[in-house]
């Protein structure tokens, strides 16, 4: 590269061109793209509800070293295969992996197996996604997980992605994850984002789900309160593949989680549900894109938010149904519950349909707690604060109930209940 890449925003060092040719090529095209598009501005449509001024002002340093983070107790009790990333690098690999499960640190790209080379960078588009390009250009370490053909591990794989803030400048980490679920395999993945101090985490997760394969993927975003979290999850599904995704977001001062899915095969079952819980001046943005490219696919999206204090929620959900994607069945619902007068939400559903034989529904509701319901509970002797807590809990749990695997569902329920006990019982009206 002729230009000095270190002058670009959020870049912490020169391009690493020590790796194998394929990786250097990936990094070079990514940094070139990043240089062209730069960070989104106020007029960038995809970012119009999520301002990045605070983030743009950062002069970050690369996050390094250990990143201590304790799992929420409910997840710590989960029977699991655990992989820990600290500041992007694999810190601990489980000993004794289940048969057919392969977990490969990407620290030494020269030695990675063929399936990593083939897939890394193939799902996550960098064209219009500056943060994904930034990740591709700058990631250090990273991990790739493969579930071999037909394998169905019993326990969920828990991927802990932790970042540690630096004392002086804000640290930045670009965790990189590749998950390949081969034909006929079936697995549960739980991703937990955590950290300490002030930092920016910019994780990119690429997921390939093969023919007839299934991945249930539950994400807990519980970053530190001073953190910026900008995440991209990109999923590609083959014929009759299932992706059952859930995002529970409670952390970070500013969070943007973008989940993109390419329903590249026929009869795909894609689900992306979630809950965001905002307090104080938090900003939660969940942006999703579902690309129905083939016939008989179904997608289900239920996103619920609870906002207290001066927090803000953003939901943007685009569904594209291409001309070939006949018999598509799409459902999208976004609901937000505002528990204070200063909380705000922006909801932007977007349907783009080019096939003529499809069923697509979408809806959005924003509201406060229902007075009739509150009065009914109080008329039975339940104090107002408790009545509110019961109603909010019911509202949130209706979405969390969509997590199919019971131990994961229960763990996420406990995380949400803990948040509600801290932020709702005493929240102002």
């Amino acid at each position: 590269m002729s230009t000095d890449v270190t002058t670009l925003p959020l870049i912490t060092g020169p391009l690493d061109d020590s790796g194998p040719h394929w990786l250097v090529a990936l990094r070079r095209s990514a940094i070139a793209r990043y240089g062209q598009i730069g960070l989104p501005g106020a007029r960038t449509e995809a970012w119009k509800f999520t301002g990045l001024n605070a983030l743009k002002a950062l002069q970050p340093v690369a996050a390094e070293g250990p990143a201590p983070a304790a799992l929420p107790s409910s997840l710590a009790d989960l029977d699991r295969t655990e992989v820990r990333l600290a500041n992007g690098r694999v810190e601990a690999l489980p000993s004794g992996l289940p048969n057919g499960v392969e977990i490969v640190p990407l620290d030494d790209p020269a030695t990675v197996p063929g399936w990593v080379r083939e897939n890394l960078g193939s799902v996550s588009s960098i064209d219009a996604y500056p943060f994904a390009a930034l990740n591709a250009a700058q990631f250090t370490g990273g991990v790739a997980i493969r579930i071999a053909r037909g394998v169905m591990p019993d326990a969920p794989i828990l991927l802990s992605i932790a970042t540690s803030g630096d004392d002086g400048a804000t640290a930045i980490a670009h965790p990189r994850v590749l998950v390949v679920v081969e034909d006929g395999a079936s697995a549960d993945l739980v991703t937990v984002h955590q950290g300490s101090g002030a930092y920016m985490a910019n994780p990119v997760t690429e997921i390939v789900v093969g023919t007839g394969a299934r991945l249930s993927h539950s994400v807990l975003q519980a970053e530190a309160v001073e953190a910026f979290h900008v995440a991209m999850t990109s999923v590609r599904l083959a014929d009759q593949a299932t992706y059952d995704g859930f995002v529970l977001a409670t952390g970070a001062r500013l969070a943007r989680h973008e989940v993109r899915a390419e329903l590249a095969g026929q009869r795909v079952d894609y689900r992306i549900n979630g809950v965001y819980l905002g307090a104080d001046s938090q900003h939660h943005d969940l942006t999703t894109f579902i690309d129905h490219a083939q016939p008989h696919g179904s997608s289900h999206e239920m996103v619920k938010g609870v906002l207290t204090g001066r927090s803000r929620g953003v939901f943007q959900g685009k569904i594209l149904v291409r001309p070939d994607a006949q018999k598509t069945d799409g459902f999208q619902m976004n609901r937000a519950l505002l528990l204070s007068r200063d909380a705000e939400v922006d909801s932007k559903p977007e349907l783009e349909i080019y096939a003529d034989d499809v069923k697509c529904s979408h809806g959005a509701t924003v509201g406060e707690l229902d007075d009739d319901q509150l009065f009914y509970l109080m008329a039975r002797g339940i104090p107002k604060a408790r009545a509110r807590a019961l109603l909010v809990e019911a509202y949130v749990l209706e979405a969390i109930a969509l997590i199919a695997r019971a131990p994961v569902r229960e763990a996420f329920t406990a995380v949400a209940a803990d948040w509600l006990s801290r932020h709702v019982a005493g929240a102002e009206e």
Partner: protein
């Protein structure tokens, strides 16, 4: 001492006067019926008693068991022993029926200085009361009132009443939307709760409910005031003549 003593009660909703000077005294153990045409203020009276926001008392007083009811929040009134059986019971998606009942019962016990009920004792209590109201375990497990028919909702109200054992039961048009069989089940449930220290205020448009729940006194409410008070025979008279006399008289 009277259990409930309403004196010259005035109340308005959205600035519109609805109750215009109600006087009503209910002694412990008495069953009173309030009958009246639509729009007479029957439901407003029930909400004012239960303490609903938006029902503003502009004059008069209500004493319940010696306490100033108007100083109390809705939940405080409930734990003190007032129970409103809703005309339109509210659905609470995601709130389990048993959780709801247990929260309510424990709130009442706490106010009475009693310990929380243990899980086994609670289950036994609810099952026993539910059985006589023909409420199945499956219904108990569902979210409160969600997916219930009109009759099931009304039976569920009476179940809550039976579990909470209030001192004053206010039944707001409990007969509305019930067929004959459901009316019988609900009435039997209410009658089973009749007791020496427990009073009832039965609000209804029609006389038929009073065939089953026989009142000690019947009041006619029209245009925000009690126009006439009599015994149970007054209900029969109204059934024959309608409310025309009272509407014109006002």
């Amino acid at each position: 001492m009277a259990l409930l003593e309403i004196k010259d009660l005035h109340a308005e909703v959205d600035g519109k006067p609805i109750l215009k000077g109600i006087d009503l005294t209910i002694e412990p153990g008495e069953v009173h019926a309030i009958m009246g045409p639509n729009g007479s203020g029957k439901s407003t009276l029930s909400y004012v008693l239960a303490g609903r926001d938006g029902y503003e008392v502009t004059g008069g007083s209500i004493k319940f068991d010696g306490k100033d009811l108007l100083e109390m929040e809705a939940d405080e009134r409930a734990v003190a022993g007032i129970f409103l059986a809703f005309q339109y019971p509210v659905e609470l998606p995601g709130v389990g029926g048993m959780t709801f009942l247990k929260e309510a019962l424990n709130a009442r016990r706490k106010a009475a200085g009693e310990d929380e009920i243990d899980a086994m004792g609670f289950l036994k209590l609810v099952r026993a009361k539910a059985k006589t109201l023909e409420i199945t375990d499956e219904m108990l497990k569902r979210a409160v009132n969600v997916g219930f028919s009109g009759g099931e909702k009304k039976r569920n109200e009476i179940l809550q009443m039976a579990v909470l054992e209030p001192m004053l039961c206010v039944l707001d048009e409990t007969d509305s939307g019930l067929d004959i069989d459901a009316l019988k089940i609900v009435s039997d449930g209410v009658n089973a709760l009749r007791a020496e220290g427990r009073s009832m205020l039965v609000i209804t448009h029609y006389q038929r409910l009073l065939n089953h729940i026989v009142p000690d006194k019947v009041h006619v409410l029209a245009q925000g005031k009690i126009r006439r008070t009599g015994g149970k025979e007054l209900a029969l008279e109204l059934e024959q003549k309608g409310y025309a006399d009272f509407v014109e008289a006002a």
